[in-house]
Symmetry: C2
Subunit: 177 residues, 2 copies
DNA sequence: CACCGCATGTAACGTGTTACATGATTCA
DNA sequence: TGAATCATGTAACACGTTACATGCGGTG
């Protein structure tokens, strides 16, 4: 749920045709996040249907541009979501919590497995960042920062989660005595 | 993309009927993540279609239970995704990077706005956690940990992102002289 | 010539999500 | 009696995603 607005954002740079929108979208993320070209056109169709973009037929290509409504949707997207209601479901959290319904031990196993995998992933990413170093665009650097920090955050969470689970298990044994 | 496996996980506790599955799903997340009851049934239909669950008609309710295939899908879901391919798109990152196509200043504005909003959110969540304190279930605690750490991580990323943007802008002014 | 990049699309499917409809039971 | 909870579902839609088809133009 970000393709839509991402395409609008590309268009805020001026009218473009579909193929160009795709390549520009990919380049603003440093090439990390790709788009299937088909999705670009279906999304653009939906945006046109919703009055967010308008098209202008050119000789052998089609120019898309933002409508006022499109600009407004884009501006709204760039604003923080004050109405933060229910935060989106987090798959990792859900995995651990659902494993808990089979018992603390199962949950701890899932935690351990994910920690191992994440630690590895983190090392790889760190190595990759050090290897590339200077020849990275701003976009690439920023995306990599995010991937790294996300992994670190998940790892920290797994650790505190584990201690909570261990405490819980200790309590269970306590009351079972 | 976690409802499917979440429902399977609930069923790993033994056969249940749809309504019960819904309430159990919600309770394993401490009530933070709700499900529309309709979605439970459509998802269960799809799971049955795919041979992951089987049903048994009872007097006035319908019992769902895991098939071997369902157990296997669940077990696979609990394993870490070694094939980490392209990481999922991150909406916050996309917002900032796409704003960058309108210039460093626009990106910095979006960063600042989100930092303000996130800081506030973080304070609220911290206050909420301190207020509740002891009467929280393990699930609630674990989910809250995750929400907190996620917010903290996003904030940290916004900060480093900002310094990168400031450096970029300084360079631009440098070369414009 | 054959391949690659540019360019536009369609059909189909999966998942998530909501709104709506229906009925039984329980309990204040 | 009327509201809440238990219980089952359908219809419709949004978005993401992929596979596939088509055509043009340049270049090795």
């Amino acid at each position: 749920m970000a393709v839509r607005q991402g395409l609008l954002a590309v268009l805020s740079d001026g009218p473009q045709h579909g193929y160009r929108i795709k390549t520009r979208f990919e380049s603003i993320t440093g090439g990390v996040w790709k788009l299937n070209i088909g999705q670009v056109y279906t999304t653009l169709d939906r945006l046109e249907r919703d009055g967010m973009v308008k098209t202008k037929e050119a000789s052998d290509s089609k120019l898309y541009s933002l409508t006022p409504a499109g600009k407004s949707e884009l501006a709204k997207w760039w604003e923080p979501d004050a109405t933060s209601e229910t935060p989106p479901r987090d798959e990792l959290v859900l995995k651990i919590l659902s494993a808990l319904s089979l018992g603390t031990d199962q949950a701890l196993k899932v935690v351990a497995a994910h920690r191992t995998a994440l630690t590895l992933l983190l090392q790889q990413r760190r190595a990759q960042m050090n290897a590339s170093d200077k020849d990275m665009s701003l976009a690439t650097r920023v995306v990599n920062d995010s991937l790294l920090m996300r992994a670190e955050s998940d790892l920290r969470w797994l650790d505190t989660c584990e201690s909570r689970l261990l405490a819980e298990r200790a309590e269970q044994k306590e009351s079972a005595r």
